[in-house]
Point group: C2
Chain length 140, copies 2
DNA sequence: TTGGGGCTCATACTAAAGTATGAATTATAA
DNA sequence: TTATAATTCATACTTTAGTATGAGCCCCAA
């Protein structure tokens, strides 16, 4: 935020310099005037360029707000519980670890995982992870 | 590429317009001159902004050229062959499939995979995939 | 109130994955 | 030339993963 204020300060300075130059160009018709205007123009270009850089950087930093493609989840008929299990699978947990985390039996997790596979049309958890990410169900 | 040429064309036009204005301001000291200079300045700012947008878009499109963190690979002492196997693992292939793809036995792949695990300090392939991505060894 | 979906769980499997150990071969760096 | 690392493979395991089937429970909509 401090950066953007400084940049706008520079913008204001350059801008009034341009105005001043236009007045100055009336009095002294020197060759330097056009040169200075050119410099100002380039400065403004660079300023616009860097402002966009700032905006881009900001937005990419804040782009951690992942939300799964709920439309795709409904399309594939993946239930809330199944999705929960899918997330754990993608985090590298074993069926037993997931079972303990969700307070259910390992058999239950196996059932969920198997159902997820048939819905994603895959045969292994590594495939499921890859497919789910391609579908936008999990963050890359 | 066509776009960037058009943008530079607009830049050139605006630029000569600025020059012309500076000449014009000598002859007719009208109030519109400063206004026109202001417009030109804003135009240049916008141009710089959009140029950066173009550059960003280009680079993000071309950002598919992933290169693994070779320094990290050396640090972890992961060999070329092991890395090759790791990539296949991340693509969701089974040990047997990887073996067939690389024309070696499944036992060989198991050995490689086991060695990869100890180097990445994990116990499962799903964990290995996650860890490798965090280390910058595989593209997200 | 009946039927379907979602969640749970069990049993009984088969199939992969993963570990441990030892060893042969080849290339390569000291 | 001699260690050293990389690659290959085997045997013999143990452990997870995954499949198939059946079933009980709960909730909600028809």
């Amino acid at each position: 935020m401090k950066q953007i204020i400084i940049k706008f300060g520079i913008l204001a300075l350059l801008f009034s310099a341009l105005i001043a130059l236009s007045e100055f160009s009336i009095a002294t018709k020197s060759y330097y005037t056009e040169f200075l205007i050119a410099i100002s123009a380039l400065g403004l270009l660079a300023l616009g360029f860097s402002l966009k850089s700032y905006v881009v950087t900001r937005s990419s930093i804040l782009k951690d707000d992942f939300t799964p493609d709920k439309h795709k989840l409904k399309m594939l008929q993946i239930s809330a519980r199944e999705y929960e299990v899918l997330q754990k699978v993608a985090e590298g947990y074993s069926n037993l670890q997931i079972a303990e985390a969700l307070f259910v039996s390992e058999n239950t997790i196996k059932t969920h995982v198997s159902n997820i596979y048939s819905k994603l049309n895959v045969k292994r958890r590594t495939e499921a992870i890859k497919q789910a990410k391609e579908y936008g169900l999990l963050k890359q």
